[in-house]
């Protein structure tokens, strides 16, 4: 019997087989005539294999009901569009994402530019929120020495954040 592969996008018999080698790993996409046409594969110069690989790798796991708690995006939505709903989706759907990264990219860890200022600023704000909560609790529990310490630290962090802001202007 002939090896009858199924189309990665619609499960009809596949007639077009594509191979891409990224970082010496081989990735394959099998498509039926109609899907190949629709994706522009027949024109050797005009399609994005990365996008195809993404769609093709979405099959296996049955879609769960899990929703991103930040934006309400579901696994079904991702299967439909190949796009996420918000930055938080990346941590919510990491199980879905991890196996895909392998076929899509050179590696699975970022080694490029870091938005240094934004990262510092965000961690300062996070620290500030944390300190404010602790201050509240300290006051409620009448731990005044702790409260004074938190207040001092809040002033310090505020100053640091303020300087960052000014440097940006």
């Amino acid at each position: 019997m002939a090896n009858s592969l199924k189309c990665d996008l619609c499960s009809k018999p596949a007639t077009v087989h594509l191979t891409q080698i990224v970082n010496s790993k081989i990735h394959k996409v099998d498509l039926c005539e109609a899907c190949a046409q629709a994706k522009g594969v027949t024109d050797p110069s005009g399609f994005s294999l990365a996008d195809l690989l993404l769609k093709a790798s979405l099959n296996p796991e049955p879609a769960g009901d899990a929703k991103c708690s930040a934006c309400g995006f579901t696994q079904q939505d991702f299967k439909k569009t190949g796009r996420f709903g918000c930055p938080e989706c990346y941590s919510h759907f990491s199980r879905l994402l991890d196996p895909m990264l392998d076929s899509m990219h050179k590696g699975s860890a970022h080694t490029g530019k870091i938005p240094q200022k934004a990262v510092t600023r965000r961690s300062l704000y996070e620290r500030l929120t944390q300190l404010e909560t602790e201050l509240d609790q300290a006051i409620k529990a009448e731990r005044y020495e702790d409260a004074a310490r938190y207040r001092d630290e809040i002033t310090q962090v505020r100053q640091a954040a303020g300087r960052k802001e000014e440097a940006g202007k």
Binding site: F84, C86, T111, A118
Partner: protein, 360 residues
């Protein structure tokens, strides 16, 4: 700056004093960026989208690089204006279809563009005529760092810059070069090149015309992977691939002129004849004819100074530019007449081809 003022003022691509690069027409880098804790444009509600747009556009327009440029919501552009921006490689077709809540900010010299609420909140793009990755990267890197002072980007230490599509994860960088590869096309080697480039994890696409057809032997080569390598490594890798393609194209040219110069000169001569005398030219055909003239320039058949003219015409022969120049809306047939007439007058000025200087 108003949109019409921008359209009528010289752009990086239409006013290159001297286009010196024989093979690379244009270098471009874009970065995908998103705001932290905000839904991506494709998932955001209308009101959120507008809010995000206002915040992003304000931050971008305030950058010193964008001073006296254009900042405008996409919905206030008409179809022709959008098309002209697409033909100049300033905005994407996807952005044209954006219903509402999207915007663009373009620098005065039209070399820096930020698309707001396309697939991502921000698509920062810098382009330059010729082969200039270093310059383009330095410019866009600075632009991005300046922007970062005012906007909190969605970033994960592990996954890098978070984008709507996982194919852009990490650096979010797409570096590309627009290459003129007529000899590889004439000698039927393009398919081989496309396959080799794909195997190296890069993408090739035909540039002008409807999305994918390779009119004018112009191809865009770009990186596909964005995670696991630094921006510099990605650019360096692409640079190496491009240099190899340039070498192959130049070899193919040498071979063409050695093996069958008459076949080549016949193509160039006929192209010149049609451009000087044709009365109906669609944009695909015009592109292919101009491509042959450009090849002729590289062979010394026409003066070197003509390259900038041809490069400008590549853009100005697109349907949107033709209609804009004629100040009206025309059907494709009328456009073909207008295009041919424009080309006739350009090529009437050109001295006839000198084939003796090419056949060294």
């Amino acid at each position: 700056m108003k949109i019409n003022e921008l359209i009528d003022s010289p752009s990086e691509l239409t006013d290159t004093a001297a286009s010196k690069s024989a093979v690379v027409l244009m270098t471009r880098i874009r970065l995908a960026r998103n705001l932290a804790a905000q839904p991506f444009p494709g998932w955001a509600r209308e009101a959120q989208k507008k809010e995000i747009r206002d915040q992003c556009m304000q931050a971008v327009a305030a950058l010193p690089q964008m001073k006296r440029g254009l900042a405008i919501p996409v919905e206030s552009l008409d179809e022709l204006q959008k098309q002209i921006l697409v033909e100049r490689h300033l905005i994407s077709r996807e952005l044209c279809h954006a219903k509402s809540g999207s915007g663009i900010v373009i620098s005065k010299d039209q070399s820096c563009v930020v698309m707001v609420n396309e697939e991502d909140h921000l698509r920062i793009q810098v382009l330059r005529a010729g082969f200039q990755f270093k310059k383009v990267w330095n410019t866009i890197n600075a632009l991005d760092s300046d922007l970062e002072e005012h906007l909190d980007f969605a970033f994960s230490p592990n996954l890098g810059y978070l984008s709507a599509c996982p194919t852009n994860l990490g650096t979010g960088i797409r570096a590309s070069a627009m290459m003129h590869l007529p000899a590889l096309v004439i000698s039927s080697q393009m398919e081989k090149v496309v396959r080799a480039v794909n195997q190296l994890g890069m993408a090739v696409r035909g540039l002008f015309g409807e999305g994918s057809d390779a009119s004018g032997s112009i191809f865009q080569i770009s990186n596909q992977t964005t995670l696991g390598e630094s921006e510099e490594e990605i650019i360096k890798h692409l640079h190496g691939v491009l240099n190899t393609i340039i070498e192959q194209e130049l070899n193919a040219r040498e071979k063409l002129i050695e093996t069958d110069p008459n076949k080549l000169f016949d193509k160039i001569g006929r192209a010149f004849g049609i451009l000087q005398n044709g009365h109906l030219l669609n944009s695909g055909e015009a592109m292919n004819l101009l491509s042959l003239i450009r090849l002729g320039i590289d062979f010394g058949v026409f003066a070197d100074t003509q390259r900038a003219v041809v490069d400008r015409l590549f853009i100005e022969c697109q349907p949107g530019h033709v209609q804009h120049a004629a100040k009206g809306s025309f059907d494709p047939n009328q456009r073909d007449v207008l295009r041919a007439s424009r080309l006739r007058s350009e090529f009437a000025k050109l001295p006839p081809p000198d084939f003796t200087s090419a056949a060294k």
